[in-house]
């Protein structure tokens, strides 16, 4: 009888556990969007594809990135001349970091401690220690620095300067420039790929992406774009991201209102996907099955199914969305 009862009890417990597991809410994945002309962040729930929170920030938020453990969010509040540190749970600003003037984009070093910030108006890259909240170094770069990247091993940082049309290579040990390479007009964004052996730099006015071999800093390939029915002047590559397998890069093409899917091995453009007006940047969800693009002029975010390369939904956010960051 006891045994019988025990079996029933454990079965009941198992059933309850299974039910609870089935009903337990999945960890909520969110995409955080900075709205540069509304001074807010819009938080999109990945499960429902709806805006669930809107949080106020400093003036003109653009680049946003989370710390490794997602406990804080760093926000480039360009017109407030500061990098804000936010508690994503409460949406409260914890403190500001000294960033230099007009911070536009930044990148967090793999050590999870140093932020490399492009100061657009000052032609410098500022390195800030997020723990001591002190400026560690300021490096002179070209005019109007914007794109920022750090190699996966953390040894190289890249700043691209919009007016000088260069990618500046910074040794993160010495915080000194060790190379400058020319790219096409108005470079906007940079990313390392292929295990850090390649550097991609997008040029907005030039309408290209230049691929560099990191070991030699030599140009390896140039990717050009052509969207049917759109004047070439409006095809302006800006932000881009790589899929999990690094086989495909999705490239935002600004006022052409399209993103391109580029084969990262052959450098061929395979597809163009229609999104909202003036697409700036993007980020994936955790398993990289969905891509979220920020469409500045239309004030929305388009969700693209990565496997089918089809846009599935466009979500209204704040005015002039710019940056995007995943919070798993």
């Amino acid at each position: 009888m006891l045994l019988h009862l025990g079996r029933n009890t454990s079965l009941a417990t198992l059933a309850t556990a299974l039910t609870l597991t089935a009903w337990a809410p999945a960890p909520a994945e969110e995409i955080w969007i900075s709205n540069e002309k509304e001074d807010t962040l819009s938080v999109i729930d990945v499960a429902t594809l709806e805006v669930i929170r809107t949080i106020e920030t400093g003036e003109r938020p653009r680049g946003i990135t989370f710390s490794k453990d997602y406990s804080v969010l760093y926000i480039c509040a360009s017109d407030s001349d500061t990098v804000q540190v936010m508690d994503p749970e409460t949406g409260r600003i914890l403190h500001d970091l000294p960033s230099g003037e007009d911070p536009e984009q930044f990148v967090l070093h793999p050590d999870d401690r140093h932020l490399y910030i492009a100061n657009e108006d000052d032609a410098i890259t500022t390195v800030v220690d997020t723990e001591t909240r002190k400026v560690v170094a300021q490096i002179d770069v070209g005019i109007e620095p914007e794109g920022m990247a750090v190699s996966p091993d953390g040894k190289i940082a890249i700043t691209t300067s919009e007016t000088t049309n260069m990618a500046h290579w910074i040794d993160t040990e010495t915080q000194m420039l060790f190379a400058n390479t020319l790219v096409d007009s108005r470079p906007r964004h940079a990313e390392f790929t292929a295990g850090g052996t390649e550097l991609w730099v997008s040029s907005e006015i030039g309408g290209t992406i230049t691929v560099f071999d990191v070991a030699t800093q030599a140009e390896k390939a140039k990717i050009e774009f052509e969207v049917q029915g759109i004047h070439p002047d409006r095809v302006q590559p800006v932000g881009f991201e790589f899929t999990g397998d690094e086989k495909t890069a999705f490239v935002a093409l600004g006022p052409s209102n399209h993103i391109a899917a580029v084969n990262a091995k052959t450098y061929e453009v395979e597809d163009y996907i229609l999104v909202g007006r003036r697409v700036w940047h993007m980020d994936f969800n955790t398993d990289k099955s969905l891509l979220f693009t920020t469409n500045g002029v239309s004030g929305d975010v388009t969700v693209v199914d990565v496997a089918s390369r089809e846009p599935v939904k466009t979500i209204k956010v704040g005015r002039f969305p710019w940056g995007a960051a995943l919070r798993p």
């Binding site: 049917q228 029915g229 759109i230 209102n257 229609l274 999104v275 909202g276 239309s298 388009t302 969700v303 846009p311 599935v312 939904k313 466009t314």
Partner: protein, 263 residues
């Protein structure tokens, strides 16, 4: 077999036979919307900005926008073409033969309607396959859910054709149908441009478009292709179908209608 069923099979078979024998008609029925899709829409691809309106969840190309309208166009022309066929039947005498059947006239006319609707549905699916090959695709269930929408649209436009045919005295008057029915119905609808775009230029035009039963048929097809319901468009199309069919039955009634007067 019930005489009703025999009549239905015979009339649908005759419509199908006539359609199969007129290969040119099948090709013409496809070429017309394809020209709109491949030439007109391609030219306007970047010119028209489309805001996101239901059933769309994101931005779409103009080509994608006009496909439901072109499906409606196929059915509109087919409905009118079958009305032309009826006038021809009347001129050569086979209509008299059909109408002297002991079966009720409303049943004979309904059979005629079902026959022409079945043919236009085949044409629409052929067009959707070509559009698919061109890269304009719909969610998979949409290809199934569009069928009832096509049946209702086909019946509505076919009934309109039937009603018109009872008013047309001679074949030559068909040009008038083109000018005064097909073109206004097509252009004053949401087939080529969304209604909000129409409202930007003229509120009056927008209201005329919104009242046009063809607009509702196109919206019904558009939503059905996305497997989404549209109760307003469904009700409006159904109401128009009943109205036009009633008008056709009245028109063909020997006691009251136009046929008697024409002798």
């Amino acid at each position: 077999m019930s005489p009703y069923l025999t009549a239905l099979i015979a009339i649908v078979e005759r419509e199908a036979l006539r359609f199969v024998q007129q290969r040119g008609r099948f090709i013409a029925a496809l070429v017309r919307p394809l020209v709109w899709l491949l030439v007109f829409a391609a030219g306007f691809r970047a010119a028209l900005g489309l805001s996101i309106t239901p059933p769309y969840q994101t931005y779409i190309q103009y080509e994608t926008y006009i496909v439901p309208g072109l499906c409606g166009m196929i059915m509109l022309f087919n409905g009118m073409q079958s009305s032309l066929g009826l006038v021809y039947d009347r001129e050569v005498g086979s209509m008299r033969l059909l109408l002297t059947s002991p079966l009720p006239r409303w049943w004979l006319l309904t059979c005629k309607l079902l026959g022409s609707t079945a043919i236009s549905i085949c044409q629409v699916y052929a067009f959707l396959i070509i559009a698919d090959l061109y890269g304009i695709r719909w969610p998979a269930p949409g290809y199934l859910t569009v069928l009832p929408a096509l049946i209702l649209t086909g019946l509505m436009l076919g009934a309109l054709g039937l009603a018109l045919s009872s008013f047309i005295k001679q074949l030559e008057n068909f040009a008038g149908v083109m000018n005064f029915v097909i073109f206004p119905m097509f252009f004053l609808s949401s087939a080529l441009y969304p209604l909000w775009k129409m409202a930007e230029s003229s509120e009056l035009l927008h209201d005329i478009c919104a009242a046009n039963p063809f607009t509702h048929a196109v919206e019904l097809i558009r939503f059905a292709l996305h497997a989404a319901p549209n109760p307003t468009a469904t009700a409006a199309t159904l109401l128009a179908a009943i109205l036009f069919l009633g008008l056709a039955i009245w028109g063909y009634d020997p006691a009251r209608g136009m046929v008697r007067r024409k002798g």
